[in-house]
Structure formats: structure tokens, C-alpha cells
């Protein structure tokens, strides 16, 4: 059996709700992208002062070996990610649906 073209986009879409540093979720996502030889897209939701997401990656992308990364959105504020249900959190949910739908449509 040959590998099927199931992972077609070869991209990991990382959602962050905290711009903390160090950021274990971002770290995990970028290292996973490197292991899988995928590119990464980053979508961050922050309540505090916006700061460049790249500043969360001290050594730069090359330190993780990720192929590439683009930042889709840096701030949707002041909406917390949880524990609200999606329909109560329509702005955030709408943004997510848009970004994920756009990703899906690329297939």
C-alpha cells in the first residue's frame, strides 16, 4: 500500500489563546511541523497588549527546523477562548470558521 495524498496541504494550523513566553503550545507545534516536514500557520488570540508573535520564538524559525510559518491574525480582542460556547462567542467563532474554511478551500 502506497501513502495516500491525505495530508495534502502539509500545514499545521496553530491556534494560540495566550501570548505567553515561553509558549509550550507554539513550541510543540513548530517542533511537530519540523518532524513532519510541514509548514505552520499561526492564529493567536490575545487579550493583553499586542506584541509581535515572532518575538515568542527566541531563536527564530530556523531553531525549530520548520519549513515556513505565516501569521494569519495576531489579535482578536477582548474575547476569551473559553469557557464560552461557540455560538455565544460569535466573533471568535466566525473568525475561526473563516480561517479554517479558507484552509479547507485550498485543497
Amino acid at each position: 500500500m502506497k501513502p495516500q495524498p491525505i495530508l495534502r496541504k502539509e500545514k499545521i494550523f496553530i491556534l494560540l489563546d495566550k501570548a505567553r513566553k515561553p509558549n509550550p503550545i507554539l513550541d510543540y507545534g513548530l517542533k511537530l511541523a519540523a518532524q513532519m516536514r510541514f509548514s505552520a500557520s499561526l492564529l493567536a488570540f490575545k487579550e493583553e497588549e499586542p506584541k509581535p508573535l515572532m518575538s515568542l520564538i527566541p531563536g527564530g524559525l530556523s531553531s525549530f527546523g520548520a519549513r515556513s510559518m505565516d501569521v494569519l491574525a495576531e489579535q482578536v480582542s477582548p474575547i476569551p477562548l473559553e469557557p464560552q460556547l461557540p455560538r455565544q462567542n460569535s466573533k471568535l467563532w466566525g473568525k475561526l470558521q473563516y480561517e479554517l474554511g479558507r484552509e479547507a478551500n485550498l485543497e
Partner: protein, 165 residues
């Protein structure tokens, strides 16, 4: 990929938190990380599937994923039937998987009975898996009230990242 969150009350446990609902709402595979997760590579996948519902597409996804990650695959077949009654199904599924995955390192496990969630948690620990992987199951609220084996509960109770597709 996103961080998981603990339900703050029983209703949220049943209806789902943001991450579990997102996993159910999108067609893309979703990886949910427990807050305490630290990267240590992905070397072993624990794939949970229904023994009575052999899904060829899901098997291809698992094959592609394990090849891409160069990860060992632990396949867990869950059966609603009592021990013995589904033995024929189990043997058929095992044969099918072994044919489909000739060059992937894998082990097979089977779970019967009522304590499915606890058995899955035991296997996570026993196999030292890095990810728990499963397909979305459509369970309504009524089902979730009386059975603890469903998407939300698996994600909430898993000590390791969950990949849902």
C-alpha cells in the same frame, strides 16, 4: 492544533469546551494538547477504532500519518459485543490491518465491555503512547449522559495529546 481546557462544570463536560466543540465542528484533523504538554517527539500513536466499523479511509489516514511521523502504531479495537461474540470480527479486522500496513510497526489491542474509557486510559499508560488518535463519533447529549465513552470525555480525560479526525 490548540490547547485543551478543563470543563468547569458538568454541563460543559457534556456540551463540550471550546476545543472539543471545535474538533467536532471542522473537517480538518484537530490536535488538542493538554496544558501540561511538552514536546518530546511523536514516536508512538495509539489509534482507537470500532471493531464493528472498519473504516478503510481512516486506516489510510493512520497509515499515512504513522509513515510521515515514522511512528509506531498501537491499534485498539473497541467492541460493544461481549468477549467471544466478536472474536470473528476481531480476527477479520486484524487480518485486514496487517495487509494494509505491511511496512508499519504496529501492535493490536482489543477492548470489550463497559469500562472503555478506563481501558483506553490504561493503554495510554501501558504503551507509553505520545498521541491518542480517534475518529469523531456522533453521540447526542442523551447518549453522553449515560455513556462516558465519547469525543468530549476522551479528550478531557486524556493525559496525552488527542488527534481527532
Amino acid at each position: 492544533m490548540l490547547e485543551g481546557s478543563d470543563p468547569k462544570h458538568k454541563l460543559q463536560e457534556l456540551l463540550g469546551t471550546f476545543d472539543t466543540r471545535l474538533a467536532g465542528a471542522t473537517d480538518l484533523p484537530v490536535l488538542i494538547l493538554p496544558a501540561s504538554t511538552n514536546w518530546k517527539g511523536v514516536n508512538k500513536l495509539l489509534y482507537v477504532m470500532d471493531a464493528e466499523d472498519l473504516n478503510q479511509k481512516a486506516l489510510k489516514i493512520m497509515y499515512t500519518l504513522s509513515k510521515r511521523l515514522q511512528a509506531r502504531l498501537e491499534v485498539v479495537m473497541i467492541s460493544e459485543e461481549a468477549i467471544g461474540q466478536s472474536e470473528g470480527d476481531f480476527l477479520l479486522v486484524r487480518e485486514n490491518i496487517q495487509q494494509e500496513f505491511p511496512d508499519v510497526s504496529l501492535s493490536l489491542h482489543k477492548i470489550y465491555g463497559e469500562q472503555k474509557l478506563e481501558e483506553v486510559k490504561f493503554l495510554i499508560e501501558a504503551t507509553e503512547a505520545d498521541w491518542l488518535v480517534f475518529e469523531k463519533k456522533d453521540r447526542n447529549l442523551f447518549d453522553r449522559l449515560f455513556d462516558d465513552y465519547h469525543n468530549h470525555k476522551l479528550i478531557q480525560e486524556s493525559p496525552i495529546p488527542c488527534l481527532v479526525f
